[in-house]
Amino acid sequence: MFFLKRSADWGKAQAAMGKSKEILEERLDTFTTSSSGILVSPSSDQNGEQAKEEIERALLMVNFMGGRPWEVKLDSADNPHPWVITQANDLEALSDATRIAGEGLANAGVGSRVLAAVYPFVWKGIKIYWIYQPRIKVFTPFVPDNSEEGRDHPLELRMEKAIRSCLPTSRDVKQWFPVWGLPL
């Protein structure tokens, strides 16, 4: 089986997500939940609190730019892997916010610890997710089903097939990592 490498770095990938709004919403009936998340890994010499403080400092600079149609904040839940939550009314603004928040984290030296940008959508009442993994620079689909840590793999396959023309996706299912317990 051929796995073509189609990747995009952080900025281009988030921009691609913003531009796929039309296909996602009009052609695929997939609607943003108006939020996205950036999953950050703590540094090995940090505890949860220190990691959060470091990220909050980085986000201060991001939020300093006022007058934007979005909001970026640190998830307050006690979590060893902190989440940066972005909120905006439409997908383009949301992907902009995610791009800028990621760049802010990179400027603060946290960029290498960003594990994923997660975009939740709703399709026919089901929550589906696109996960951008910066280490491999591609989006992978994730659809948890009702069972414990179960996934709707046929739907994931359909998602990837439907969107691969406009998003950098991986066709290699070995890279389709789940992210359980999402705060989104």
């Binding site: 051929f2 796995f3 359909r158 070995k174 789940p178």
Partner: protein
């Protein structure tokens, strides 16, 4: 069960199958002409016909025995029987024998010389990894093979290839033990060498064409299964699991995986020449085609 969804004919697939059969006919026609013009080859032809007929008549028993599959009653495997019964009713064929093979390798197959003497077998490995819908997809694929008489088609298609293979063995052993006219005049030796080369050429060509035909029949059975169940993506997911791809679908959370060296980009591995002899299409291509069928079905709903 509802009436099967009408996906219509895949004209491209049918055209490819027809062209392959015509090419096979040309190769076989040449080979028959050649065999009948070589002294002694007519005897080989009769021997090969008997061998193939025996295999054909006994195919269900031979295959089930070789796969250590045991025919199970409705009491032993009620769900399996119910699913097959439903699918057969939809396909309009008699219910075949159902067998389970105690093998951990996930697989399923259909065998038998006719629709009335057919059998569908699944391995315990397959039953353990597929959910109900995915299993139905796989069974529908096998039922589709029976409905379109694929076992017979492939037997007829490979008939003269078996003859060529038998002749190749004969030529080989005869050359090992001083045959091929070496002890006789050089003319006879050359004559037999040509016969050997022609047989090898026919065998290789027929293998390529039979493999191509078999791949088209697989696509056709996938299409038939999609039509029977109306859910191509369940078969796609089952194929993923059977091929081992789904074992590669990570269960581990991304956060835990970061500590492992799990971020490999799979290299693009091509197997162009080997693919010529493969009887099954590449899994990715089959899944892509199933996705197209899924879109067609969704569009028709």
């Amino acid at each position: 069960m509802n009436r099967p969804r009408d996906l219509g004919r895949d004209t491209q697939l049918v055209t490819r199958m027809v062209i392959t059969v015509i090419l096979l006919g040309i190769v076989y026609g040449f080979f028959l002409w050649f065999l009948l013009s070589v002294a002694g080859a007519a005897f080989m032809l009769v021997f090969a016909i008997m061998l193939v007929l025996f295999q054909f008549m006994m195919s269900d028993r031979l295959v089930l025995t070789s796969m250590r599959a045991k025919v199970v009653s409705p009491d032993e495997a009620p769900e399996l029987h119910q699913t097959v019964e439903r699918l057969c009713a939809a396909a309009g064929i008699p219910k075949p024998k159902i067998a389970i093979s105690e093998m951990q390798v996930p697989n399923a197959f259909a065998t038998g010389r006719s629709q009335k003497h057919a059998a569908v077998a699944v391995t315990t490995g397959l039953l353990s990894i597929l959910n109900k819908d995915q299993l139905e997809g796989v069974l529908a694929h096998e039922i589709s093979h029976i409905a379109t008489r694929d076992v017979q088609v492939m037997t007829y298609a490979s008939f003269l290839s078996v003859v060529a293979s038998t002749l190749m063995s004969l030529f080989f052993w005869s050359s090992m033990f001083g045959g091929m006219g070496r002890s006789r005049e050089n003319g006879a030796h050359s004559y037999m060498m040509i016969a050997y080369l022609v047989t090898i050429m026919v065998w290789v060509l027929s293998q390529v064409l039979i493999a191509a035909l078999s791949r088209y029949r697989e696509y056709s059975a996938d299409r038939g299964a999609s039509q029977l169940t109306g859910r191509p993506m369940d078969l796609a997911a089952a194929l993923h699991k059977i091929s081992g791809s789904l074992t590669g679908l990570p269960k581990q959370d991304l956060r835990r995986a970061e500590t492992l060296n799990a971020f490999f980009i799979m290299p693009a591995v091509g197997d162009g020449f080997a693919r010529l002899f493969s009887t099954h299409p590449p899994m990715g291509r089959r899944i892509e085609k199933l996705q197209i069928l899924d879109n067609e079905l969704r569009g028709s709903r």
